[in-house]
Every structure is written in structure tokens, then in C-alpha cells.
Symmetry: C2
Subunit: 176 residues, 2 copies
Amino acid sequence: MTQPTPAGGPTPEGRDATVPLPAAAGGGPVSHAIFRLARLHRMHAGQLLRPLGLHPGQELVMMQLWELGAQRQSDLVRLLDSDAATMTRTVQRLEQAGFVRRRPDPTDRRASLVEPTPASQALRHEVERVWTQLEDLVAADLSADERTDARHTLERLEHNLAQAAADPDRAADARP
Amino acid sequence: MTQPTPAGGPTPEGRDATVPLPAAAGGGPVSHAIFRLARLHRMHAGQLLRPLGLHPGQELVMMQLWELGAQRQSDLVRLLDSDAATMTRTVQRLEQAGFVRRRPDPTDRRASLVEPTPASQALRHEVERVWTQLEDLVAADLSADERTDARHTLERLEHNLAQAAADPDRAADARP
DNA sequence: GGTGGTTACCTGCTCGAACAAGTAAACCCC
DNA sequence: GGGGTTTACTTGTTCGAGCAGGTAACCACC
């Protein structure tokens, strides 16, 4: 695949000399911050979700189903930008837990439709409450404007990564 | 039901940035953004790291060791804010891969010291390159100031979560 | 009506992450 | 110095995530 060859645009030393070096300490400040934030966030989500019998990630699937109704697995994969193999197993576990049901797609015998069970409706409020709570936790001291701002920042970073994924060339020479 | 527009949100256009983010509307925009960003970020890290024979997370351990020298596992856990059990197995795998060595701590027979092998030094450049690359990817179109800004935002969110973890009372009051 | 390619899903694998439970050494205090 | 606690690490488990490989159904085209 794309070997990130520095072809054409080397000169890695153009950086500002203020930072001693890019090792662990200053390696990738933003990257590192993302990493740490994500782990903390996931941890909190897990703790809030556990009493509900859900694991982090499963709630996203349920939210899609509650909102959109029955979906094929491939649709869920696309909606959540997830992985087919992961989805298979996540759905299996949700099915086993009684939160979803699967039935064959009448129009395509390869596919199966996943739908939330009536029983899962009880969960819905809980999950929404948990997500509101998590939001209030993570953005505790932010004003509405600041939250919007934060969201834009996150989305901008996400957009950059998505761009790079779609367009490996730009990835290789990322350097203003 | 499927009202694609979040109720009440002064969501200013600006969408299209990335994938449809349908559900979860009203749930937790910031939370959801964190989730998605984290996954993309991890994915990119994984792809860049794979040719080096490292899995995401392992490079952080190596960076600490390169920078600080031999460390006890418990120190690594504290430095990376990780989990003891995870660290045990990560170190085992790094050891098996020949990147680290373990020897008993002479001053504490419970502890073991982890140190990078000479062979791992070859990796160091590669890892640093990868992190620089990842940083340039994720912050591709951000100015230096904006990067600092982004980092502050991320750290602020992280701080909020850390606060809530340390102080469960505040967490509990996140509701009417 | 075959043939070849795509799509949908499943299974096996490795890995980080987190929880639980256990062992052993170190430490603290009476 | 004995008893209880804390600390350091290990192992077992479950889960999401991702890669690789496999099967079956679908589809387009000849």
C-alpha cells in the first residue's frame, strides 16, 4: 500500500526550534491529547453504560436502530463507520442480550435485518440519559458557544484524518 | 422520528464535514465527535505503526522508555495513565518482539525493570517519524496557534473527565 | 445459461482495554 | 516480630477493533 515515502518533500527540520525534540514529551501534542482524552472518555462511557448491560460501542448501534428502525448489518457498518466483522459480533451479543432481533431480509437472502426489540425500548431512555450525562461531564465548564467551538475543533481534526484516509497522497506530504 | 435536525440547536450549517451523524442528535455532540475522532486517529496510528511491527499503544511505552530509560511497570502505568494488567501483557509482547528487556528491580523484589533493547533504537527514528506524520495529518490545516488552541481544548475536556473521575459527586449532579 | 466479479456476512486470529481475583513482597504499626 | 494493609505484578475473562480468509447469494455481461 501507500508507502509514506518522503519523496519530494523531505526537510523534516523546518520546524520551530523551540521544542527540544519530538519524542514522547513533545512528540505529537495534539495526537497525544487525543489519545488521552479518548481513553478517559471511553472509560467514563463504559462505567456509565455498564449498569445498563451495554459495552461501549454497543450503545451506538442501538441508537441507530432506535432512530432509524430495522437496518441491515451493512447499513449499520456504514452508518457507524465500523467494521463488518466487529458488527457481526456486536449484533450477535446484542441479540443474545435480547436487545435486538435478526430476521432475513426478504429482498436479499445474503442480508439480515437487525431491529430493536420492544424490550430494548426501556433501555432507550437510560442510554439517552447516560449520553446527556457524559456530555455534561466532558463539557462541564463550557458555555454553549464553547461547546460548539469544541465540537468544531474535533470535527476539523476528524475531517483532516478522513481526508488523509481518502487521499493518501496528501498524507505523505502533510507539511505546510 | 428521523428528524435530521437537532431540535433547538443553533447548529450553523457547516455540516458535510464528514460522515452523516444522524442519531445521537440531542445525545452528545461533543461526545460523539470525540468517539469518531478517536477511532479515526487510532486507525491511522495503527496503519502507520504496522510496518514497524508495533500495535497502537505499544509505541507510547517505547517512547517513555527511550526518553526516560529503564522504568518499572508501575511507573509506566502511571506515566501513561494505563492499566496494570494491560501493561503486563503489552510489556510481555514487546519483550517477545525483542524491543524491551526485563530484569528484576534490585531494590524491590516485587517489581521488574523494563528497558529498551539496543535493537529497539532502530525503531526510535521510525516511531518519531510516524508520530510527526500523524501530527501533521491530524492538524494538517491548522496554524501553530490553532494547534495550541486545539490542544488546549482537548486538554480541557480531558481535565473535565479527570475531575469527574476523581470527584464522583460532581458527576452525579449532572441531572435535574 | 454460464462465467466472473461484487456484496453480505461469518469465523479465526491478534491486540489493547478494562474488571476481577489471586500471589507475593514490602511496609506499617502495635 | 507478628498481623494487617498496601503495592507490584500476573492471569483469566469479556469486549471492541482490525486484518485475513471463506462461503453464499446476487448481479452484470457475454
